[in-house]
Amino acid sequence: MSVTSSDTNYVQLEIFPSRLLKPETAQNLLNEIVELEGIIRLFVHGPRLPQTVPYGPATGLPVHHPGNSVIEVAGQAIELAVYIGSIRMEVADSDVKEQVREVCEKVLSVSFEFREGNFIPRRQTVSDYAKRGPDSDPLMTGMTDPKGKLKDQPVCILKPDDME
């Protein structure tokens, strides 16, 4: 049988600032986080930003929201589709967790909640199976944009060398 779950010993964290983060702040925070050793995977979460007005008399007009910008994390350009409200991640152990907390205290000017829990599915769900089929990479489990398309490659591999 194929492996369908990531390592269950990994620690999952959520950073939940008291304010929604500007793209610049989010970029600074993410850049500091990806520098740490032992970050397995992470995703950003928040209210979606539409490209065009979805309803009303102005339907179809472009929005040009300042939150809908391109940020650069670990040398890779990432186009934000959401205004960042929280960051959920999987790290190797609780030492890394403390390092992440220190980074947040350094970068974030607003107060934040920092908690450990289950935020990313560890085992393949029906949705994962439907999107990626059997024998998919366990690291990709749960890493998907519910409103995005897989062909748009919603997952960025930031440090391909570390994949070995």
Binding site: P17, L20, K22, L49, P50, V53, G56, A58, L61, V63
Partner: protein, 249 residues
């Protein structure tokens, strides 16, 4: 002695603000010109005549009716204006007003208005010039903070979200932006770009917003702190249950 309505019980600042909103005795904090208001409402071009849906009442020759003689029509009804709407969204983070209190303010202090109260937004329909009078009143006074309340005809999402870092309530259509220390609106209430930036004034500081809000919050003035309000809420629920029960049936 003439009767003075009391409007709302309670001794806290929130109860006092609720009384202010309901009675219409609110402080004017900013100035918004008629043309600016027309621009952000987006129903007609600024400076143009009010389009009408019927001829002025004086020309129509109304039927003889004691009620029509008794009730003076509003200026909008007299002129035959179209019915148009204004819709406000108030943040849960200490916005000065809330949908219920905007509706109370409209229904108590203005004539010919049809307030609609929803969980996160409040809409008022009225004849166009009557609606503009109400919109101007609510936007210029302490009932509105340009950062914590906003004019949103469509796509009202944002009232229950955390505030972004700049303190302006999240708006996925980006109608308002902070420029310097003032808030400007560069799109109308439904998200169409407008010709000029409309200055909505300075946002309230967090301390001022906490002082002027009509929202009970545990981190500001808690609902449970207002004993008189609790007593009256219990009384209303008690009476409603008693009379709703109808034991004679």
């Amino acid at each position: 002695m003439a009767y003075e309505p009391q409007y709302y019980p309670g001794a806290t600042s929130v109860a006092e603000n609720r009384r202010k909103h309901m009675s219409g005795k609110v402080e004017k904090l900013r100035e918004i010109s008629d043309d600016d208001l027309t621009l952000v409402l987006g129903h007609r071009a600024p400076g143009s005549d009010y389009p009408s849906t019927h001829p002025p009442l004086a020309e129509m020759g109304e039927p003889e009716c004691s009620m029509r003689e008794l009730v003076e029509p509003t200026p909008g009804a007299k002129a035959g204006d179209r019915v148009r709407y204004v819709q406000f969204v108030d943040s849960m983070y200490n916005a000065p007003s809330t949908p219920y209190f905007r509706s109370y303010a409209a229904a108590i202090n203005f004539r010919g208005v049809d307030p609609g109260t929803l969980s996160g937004r409040q809409v008022v329909e009225a004849r166009e010039r009557d609606m503009e009078e109400l919109a101007k009143f609510q936007m210029e006074t302490e009932m509105t903070c340009p950062a914590l309340a906003s004019l949103r005809g469509a796509t009202v999402h944002g009232h229950s979200l955390r505030l972004p870092e700049d303190g302006l309530m999240f708006d996925m259509l980006d109608r308002c932006r902070k420029e310097g220390d003032v808030v400007i609106m560069h799109k109308d209430q439904v998200g169409r770009p407008i010709d000029k930036k409309v200055n909505l004034g300075k946002p309230m500081s967090p301390e001022e917003a906490a002082k002027r809000t009509t929202i009970y919050r545990v981190d500001n003035v808690a609902f449970r702190d207002d004993l008189e309000v609790i007593e009256w809420v219990h009384r209303v629920f008690d009476k409603r249950t008693t009379y709703g029960f109808k034991p004679e049936n």
